[in-house]
Symmetry: D2
Subunit: 427 residues, 4 copies
Amino acid sequence: MRATPTLPPSHGADAALGTRYAAVRAATSALAAPLSAEDCALQSMADASPVKWHLAHTTWFFETFLLERYEDKHRPFHPQFRRLFNSYYHAIGERHPRPERGLLSRPSLPEVIAYRADVDARMAALLLRASGDTVLSGLIELGLQHEQQHQELILTDVKHLLSRNPLEPVYRSLPQPAPAAKGRPRWLACAGGLVDVGHAGHGFAFDNEGPRHRVFIAPYELASHPVSHADFAAFVADGGYCRPELWLSLGWDTVVAQRWTAPLYWELRDGAWTTFTLHGRLPIDPAAPVTHVSFFEADAYARWAGARLPTEFEWEAAAAGTPVEGNFADDGVLHPSAPSGPGAQGLAQLYGDCWEWTGSAYLPYPGFAPAPGAVGEYNGKFMCNQFVLRGGSCATPGGHVRATYRNFFPPEARWQFSGLRLARSAG
Amino acid sequence: MRATPTLPPSHGADAALGTRYAAVRAATSALAAPLSAEDCALQSMADASPVKWHLAHTTWFFETFLLERYEDKHRPFHPQFRRLFNSYYHAIGERHPRPERGLLSRPSLPEVIAYRADVDARMAALLLRASGDTVLSGLIELGLQHEQQHQELILTDVKHLLSRNPLEPVYRSLPQPAPAAKGRPRWLACAGGLVDVGHAGHGFAFDNEGPRHRVFIAPYELASHPVSHADFAAFVADGGYCRPELWLSLGWDTVVAQRWTAPLYWELRDGAWTTFTLHGRLPIDPAAPVTHVSFFEADAYARWAGARLPTEFEWEAAAAGTPVEGNFADDGVLHPSAPSGPGAQGLAQLYGDCWEWTGSAYLPYPGFAPAPGAVGEYNGKFMCNQFVLRGGSCATPGGHVRATYRNFFPPEARWQFSGLRLARSAG
Amino acid sequence: MRATPTLPPSHGADAALGTRYAAVRAATSALAAPLSAEDCALQSMADASPVKWHLAHTTWFFETFLLERYEDKHRPFHPQFRRLFNSYYHAIGERHPRPERGLLSRPSLPEVIAYRADVDARMAALLLRASGDTVLSGLIELGLQHEQQHQELILTDVKHLLSRNPLEPVYRSLPQPAPAAKGRPRWLACAGGLVDVGHAGHGFAFDNEGPRHRVFIAPYELASHPVSHADFAAFVADGGYCRPELWLSLGWDTVVAQRWTAPLYWELRDGAWTTFTLHGRLPIDPAAPVTHVSFFEADAYARWAGARLPTEFEWEAAAAGTPVEGNFADDGVLHPSAPSGPGAQGLAQLYGDCWEWTGSAYLPYPGFAPAPGAVGEYNGKFMCNQFVLRGGSCATPGGHVRATYRNFFPPEARWQFSGLRLARSAG
Amino acid sequence: MRATPTLPPSHGADAALGTRYAAVRAATSALAAPLSAEDCALQSMADASPVKWHLAHTTWFFETFLLERYEDKHRPFHPQFRRLFNSYYHAIGERHPRPERGLLSRPSLPEVIAYRADVDARMAALLLRASGDTVLSGLIELGLQHEQQHQELILTDVKHLLSRNPLEPVYRSLPQPAPAAKGRPRWLACAGGLVDVGHAGHGFAFDNEGPRHRVFIAPYELASHPVSHADFAAFVADGGYCRPELWLSLGWDTVVAQRWTAPLYWELRDGAWTTFTLHGRLPIDPAAPVTHVSFFEADAYARWAGARLPTEFEWEAAAAGTPVEGNFADDGVLHPSAPSGPGAQGLAQLYGDCWEWTGSAYLPYPGFAPAPGAVGEYNGKFMCNQFVLRGGSCATPGGHVRATYRNFFPPEARWQFSGLRLARSAG
């Protein structure tokens, strides 16, 4: 999940930016609070990074893209951090290999925290100068949005790490809510037609959300709710993981090679499905949206259900105008919830709870042009062999997503809070 | 390159179908004529199959999908061939593993030829019954289209095999044509707008070409010619394979891992670029279209050139109405040619010579539904992590392609005659 | 199985050498006679080579080590064969990669046969000059011994290839002998003591068989017979492949990774063990020695049986003086036989039938020094992570082995005719 | 490096055993003292383990093999530790996978320290009962010897981890000694003959050191000193890593695949060789023994030098009677030293400084029988594809080794303090 902005943000006031800077940075630190230095140092797979690395890399982003350019007499906090915490920016120079992020016991967690404090102090000076400088403030906002993306990764990466430990450690204890009764999902008709999609106008957006452009969509229907644990358990029980005809060819190859028999983190205990959560291992909540399914599993489920995944534009057209509300990371639940209330009107749980896989490959919009320089280097470069997800999850910071937001992951990725909502063509 | 039809073909007469059957089958045999039994038995990589396997598998298709269903007292030619020459049809049952197709010295080439003759004889009886039976004649036509696809694979697979032999054997000798002067490609304006794409109406098409549907295309421009060897050599000379900023991230990973420094088959000999062809190793023809580049290389070239790849719909909209003419396999050149004539009007070399990578991921069209049963099993199942190519190549049988034809390969594939044509969005 | 000689052979007469040359070369050709060009071209795994490659490489040996040195105006048969058929001699120069030997449809089998004839003709001239030239005749003898080693590999490699074909082709038909009743193996006491081992004196030997030297051996016992199929089936039935405590650690890792459940080529058919042979798939003969077991399996069996493998010196000391008789390739059985006769005296089936794994790592004898130049390059270089086998097999040419002969393979190798004989230390 | 004892130790008094227990356990803790919890949690490769794992596993050994058997009402410290810290004992049951030892952020380092304290307290009670119980005291002694082996691994594993960090952290600072002038090594004659080797008599020994038995050794010579850094640098400078003729075949494959150009940890800085040490990166000390070379490198060096490696029995016969003195871990240098004094008499640096590779494969001695039960499970099971090293290193605890001690590692292992001493056959 990586992208950069093309549109300069328009913020009300500089004080607001400073406040926001402090809040976002504090939120990151708060996520690490329940963790030990050991928890923060380990890397459970090449796709995931140590929490300590996230703490440092988000700080590196400000130091490299802001302080290095704007400070009068810039001196790096540490001469080697520029390389050590560079993720994938060729234009910045050498990078520590991604699979070896878990080999760095040094710098220690306290040193990384000191690094954060040092950069924050220097950023405080820079924030004073951001007033009226849309380029500077745009870059700072980018750094904050970037850091919010890593906040979500901190949660999904540490969840994966803890899940690999036979002791099944708890990230944070939470009383499990009583499972809610799940309303039957309904099909909601959407008109389609010639519609404009993509970001335009005020407010921050990543550059992969633009340019806004016109697409033609045939009439379609969307399910009122995401697919639930109960729904998905029925697919599993019906032999879903044993029937190649339900799967894409690459998906079936993956099922066989990885020996998938259920979503990631699911385990049968005493004959009942449980799942590993940030609160420990729990029974699955039948009414809550299923998560930790790959695109392959989402696609196979949809085929089994006689439906399909929506395109990203079908999703966006339906979402336009809906308030961005839902179960986000700020709520502290950090797990998908059953739909609340007496029965949702229209599209329930559109935002938050789980990212929703779409059937759209992650490709550039017409007219998309990468930003010049290192910041813009990586936009187009991930637009291959990935699929778009929409809507945000229970691990996404509140306020971070919008109707045009495009998340993306390879079709086999499962460690995000990724689920699905069904669609079908009308008539 | 695999797909099945949904639309029943409408053929003039049954005699015509019988004639066509004989012609297609004979063309396949003719392709194997210059090869020894040893040439036909080897497999150079998991992606490629032995020629003998192609000869048998195309015959298996008729035996399994036609004779098995329509013969009164069907007895298979050999009880194990049903499994041995099944490519990937789960609904048919077990399959011999693809990477082990090159371990089959038996059945011998003469036995496979006898298998072909036996099935041809039995098909002759069936062809007499096809008159007026659109389902039967449609299935037969599918078998012939399928066989034509494998004709192309026979050429590309044996080319790859011969290229791996230090003796650099010649498939068929041919005097090399004098290189033609290459006209400067021009940009041709295309209006776009709300257009219908996909197959409809009479004539055969694979089901992945439909349903015909409406898309919105912004105004754009297409290059009059494909990218030439000279063009691509300039990219190589400019350090194209050493500059990560020109590449998709996965593409750059592939360049580094595979140590790519030029298109497949290119080698420097005495300081000049040569390429391996079905006629042996030859100097590159500067004016002829470049081939054997992956999507990654096509995409990087376009970025270097300040352009982009067209979408498949931009390509199709521009091609609509253009006669399907060009350098196809029937011409026997089996290598891309320089553009002929005093200067092509409009879009030159749109068909034949080289498949043209598009920027479109291979995905189902809206409303696409797989055909029931084994024949239709595999349409959707390859719609993941592949890109669409259009136009046909010098190894494609004449008459096999059309404006709506969708070929597809993974972005790293290079052993097909794959090239590119530049596009750009209109001012 | 590769080594070179240090001791010049002493042959009766040159005519004898010429006759021997003709006989050995003809025997190689005879081995290929039942095979098609396709059979001869394929390679079933990196460890095995195509038969055609063996035919060419053994010829290459004479051309490179004899003709290249001794011909007045040497012109190679083909300028690229020196590289193409070099197995692993760094001092000769570049080598075609071993795993790609199966990519060579050219030279064709007829061309390789012509290559053999050409070199034979040129060798005929050289053989006339060999009289009294011990260096020259020693090199020729080396080439013949080398070719005999490859005769065995032709059989084991083509057996492996045919076994990978679901059609289970037959190399050569043979009526299966009636299984003989197996006598109970007895323990035979051996005195040990201070004994001399290794080759000395007249006759050809590979350099790894010397220098002859003194070792001290404690008293021990050897089984009168090799372990039989019935014996080994009892081990399998007793859960031998499921009990890690019976295995070396690396052996158990291999069992798990490779999913071994029985010797190579064994398959249960209708509840009874069968094995693939050069005569097709047959029921195992209970009384015949088990073959196609790795060192790991031999070692585990011995542990299960409360015994151990003999050291190579225990084997050699016991074998000294025993006539070199047994079921060799010349007999044409090409499969281990049950012990014949009313009950063997002493050590039965010591030679022929199956190679016998010893517990000795393949290491240089004290004072071993590699021969200078390319011929001697590779003696020491394989003395690592391999174990010694003794005695020859049903695929070994008659007259090729002796008491001091050291064969060697890595502990996981199974495609040779390798079995075992038990030993134990004397009370 | 793993083995178990067959001979019951004979200790002076129980008080002595208690004192020794306390000393060994304290020494382990002291090794972890310079490290942070993060340093202790990471795993740099599958061959190495986190320090925290070593701290727990050595404790697990006492809990599993002593307390579980001898405590009246045994209750494990934690129900999952039995599985979590089992290294490779099949008879104990399931094991946490070795490559995933670095995924365990929990138990935390403080929890593991508490585990150590708890087991120490319970062992104190058991130690009171050990008086006169040779089985019990033998098992305790085994646990202590086992822990000493892991003390060495703590140092070599953490060295490897720190070396993978671009910050090149220092384990412990130490002033570098002034390089000593290196005396020329001399050849020392050894008579050989019929000698007894292996452990016998009083004192602790691992079971792989016995039974004591007779071997015949031809006269030979040993170098007075191990090969030094200066010696090895000459080999590197002479193209040692570019000349296949100097290497075993597997060794050369490893050189090419791993791109070895010098011993592990060596790097050219400003044109001079440096090496990573537990004190940071330092220039190589020309006179000190080279370490961190594999068997392959040791063997190639010896061939280059016109010599060979000694057999383990040549080494042992020469070492018999020499006092076990040298640069051991207790000295705190933790790096090989130049030979001290005005010129060593006889065999210098025979113990300590660096383990010396021998040319002997690690195989069972005649009559070797594994101990019954889990403790003895793993003796024979590592006797395959490894080579014996002798003498101990600067990371070996003082008093841990003796003339008969057999260490062993695969021929490609380099992360131990492994060097070599040359040998040659006499006359």
